[in-house]
Symmetry: none
Amino acid sequence: MEVDAPGTPIGRPRDTSIDAAVLEATRNLLIEGAYSSFGMGAIADRAGTTRQAVYRRWPNKALLVLDAVFTHTVATGIPDLGDMRAELRAAAQALADEFGQPAARAAVGGLLADLAGDAALHDVVRTGLLGPEHDRVGAIVERARSRGEVDPTADADVAVQALGGAIVYRTCFLGLPADREFLDAVVDLVVRGVSADHRHPPTDAERKGPR
Amino acid sequence: MEVDAPGTPIGRPRDTSIDAAVLEATRNLLIEGAYSSFGMGAIADRAGTTRQAVYRRWPNKALLVLDAVFTHTVATGIPDLGDMRAELRAAAQALADEFGQPAARAAVGGLLADLAGDAALHDVVRTGLLGPEHDRVGAIVERARSRGEVDPTADADVAVQALGGAIVYRTCFLGLPADREFLDAVVDLVVRGVSADHRHPPTDAERKGPR
Amino acid sequence: MEVDAPGTPIGRPRDTSIDAAVLEATRNLLIEGAYSSFGMGAIADRAGTTRQAVYRRWPNKALLVLDAVFTHTVATGIPDLGDMRAELRAAAQALADEFGQPAARAAVGGLLADLAGDAALHDVVRTGLLGPEHDRVGAIVERARSRGEVDPTADADVAVQALGGAIVYRTCFLGLPADREFLDAVVDLVVRGVSADHRHPPTDAERKGPR
Amino acid sequence: MEVDAPGTPIGRPRDTSIDAAVLEATRNLLIEGAYSSFGMGAIADRAGTTRQAVYRRWPNKALLVLDAVFTHTVATGIPDLGDMRAELRAAAQALADEFGQPAARAAVGGLLADLAGDAALHDVVRTGLLGPEHDRVGAIVERARSRGEVDPTADADVAVQALGGAIVYRTCFLGLPADREFLDAVVDLVVRGVSADHRHPPTDAERKGPR
DNA sequence: GCTTAATCGAGACGGTACGTCGCGTCTTGCA
DNA sequence: TGCAAGACGCGACGTACCGTCTCGATTAAGC
């Protein structure tokens, strides 16, 4: 149901090598400096092409950086290993791989800044990048819940946000590496935080306590 | 033995009302639009002054926004309530108050973007903003640990990053409110994640398993 | 062997209508006010374009004003009329036309001021504007000299500077019009000053007199 | 009839050394660079004082430069030597001394530029600087005329403007020195140009000729 | 000896212009 | 139609100077 599918694209075909060159240039510039320290012109120069050729492919820097830095095909679900901890480790590792690379660390802030003013763009990120990530981790928790490993009162979304937040915060805000040790520790914390055994929820007094 | 301590400040003194006006203008502009959607000129205009008067006070937008948005005197430690959960709730609430305000949500991304290229600036943020926050939350966990409530193998830093990350991630990345319910849930997760009772650490096989 | 001769000019060509608009805007602003009362920004605004488009064409205000005000193709020599007085009148009239126009009167001072600090610019004026003017008038005198009309001891350069100086001084310094009557009178003075008949040079005593 | 003559000036008296320092600083800056290359701030700095102290004494740069560069007491008339040539030489030398000094050469252009927009200032220059100069030279010619040395049809003003123009033009426009030789030559030209003997005015045909 | 008043230094103030940079678009010639 | 090149209108950048002001300290003269 492609509306404007170009049945037979007329005119000179796009030079696909430019696509690659632009993406790589973007990544390199991100590694070398901050998101806001370069612009479309610098990207085009680095890629050995022109601004126009870049704009023909991506309408703005945010979407270009998104393409350059993040693996959209990330949605490769985690296989059912029958073990929440192992599955979460795999998911956490994937997250760390994605957000820990230097280009991503440099990109996140600027992307966030550009997002703030552009609702459409924000949606792209939420549904295209964050959403799948959430679903994937959420699925792990729900699967474990169906196996009875998760406390019924635990909120999967909260677990997801704690896990993802910890990784993103550590890599992008603190600039620290999300190494194996850290990932294990945070996964461990989350697993224990949601696991079923001996869960004793806060009393009502605590829950609705003063303030 | 302050070298450049202005014993008797010479020349016309700064107009302190300008400081306030600029900070408020900055906050308002952040609420109305994105970090990157306005510049020093717009701030000066809104504050009813000139760019120069702004630059006299803050050398760049990042430091100005930092001053405008974040309460530096945040380091007011959480009192010892004898209850980790209650203390963490207070800390989480403070965090949510700080990062949940509209201006902060709009600022975080741009700030992060500018930080990436400026090591000195990054240090200011880390030691002046994030550091105290960490220490505060870390102190709560350590206090609980000394009361025997925390599992000896649990890493306080990880708990801190999970708690902080979850809140920042939710407010700034997802744009969702960090309401009371969410805060309670994430505190609950962290408390259970580090608490001493019935902790069963991963086996060595799990820990060093094939990843 | 032009090195940077643009064999085939590449890229989008300059919009020639902007050149004209900028030159006219400059002239108009000079007529309306002083050289120093407006800047490149005002010129661009008046021309309906941008500063950048102006800077692309002229590196500074002095060179732009030079182009706007003075006819560079002034070097159209005066034809040999066989009569020094008539030829000098034509030359004087050309000078008065050039320096008497309102824009020129307003420009001269500022130009001179900017020149003082820029040797390169000063050369442009000397060789491009003053030089041809001199050669033209000098040629008239020399032609007359070859006809025997000029005293052999008379210095053509001095005659040139007296004629030119009188006109420039009157129009630009005194703000008086260099009308037909004045021009006739000053040409008459110069002609008589250099003519051969009954010249009685100063005695040595006069020439090397006290002080 | 001094209206606001401060009978007894109360308050702290002006530091007269500042007057001198400012005038000298102005002269030095003019020698080192162009009129437009420095401002009141630079003058104050160089004089080791503040802008305000300068503005207290002179309302703008043009008047300050005028004071700094030109000897207002120039009106010392030329004594009657009974010889036009000798008297004109003395006057020419005085003119050359005044306008030939480096500071004056650098000042003239900028002064002219500032004058253009300020009628009051222009009057100051005309009546205070140029006027006396004219009167002085004009008086010489008229004196000679009364002795019968000058042709009755010769216009003294034209002679004045030719003499003055030649000197100013040579020093300020061409940047050449008005040395003894040049002054003698231009005086000679003017003397011959106005002298009574063998003057044969242009015929009517020439005077009202075509064009 | 105290008040009064103008000056001094220093530097902030609201303005305006500077010359440069980057944006996103457009207009050429060539492939 | 794509591409390289570069001009276009637009707007922000950080700086510099303008002429004025507001400070505390200084320096006479008059009371």
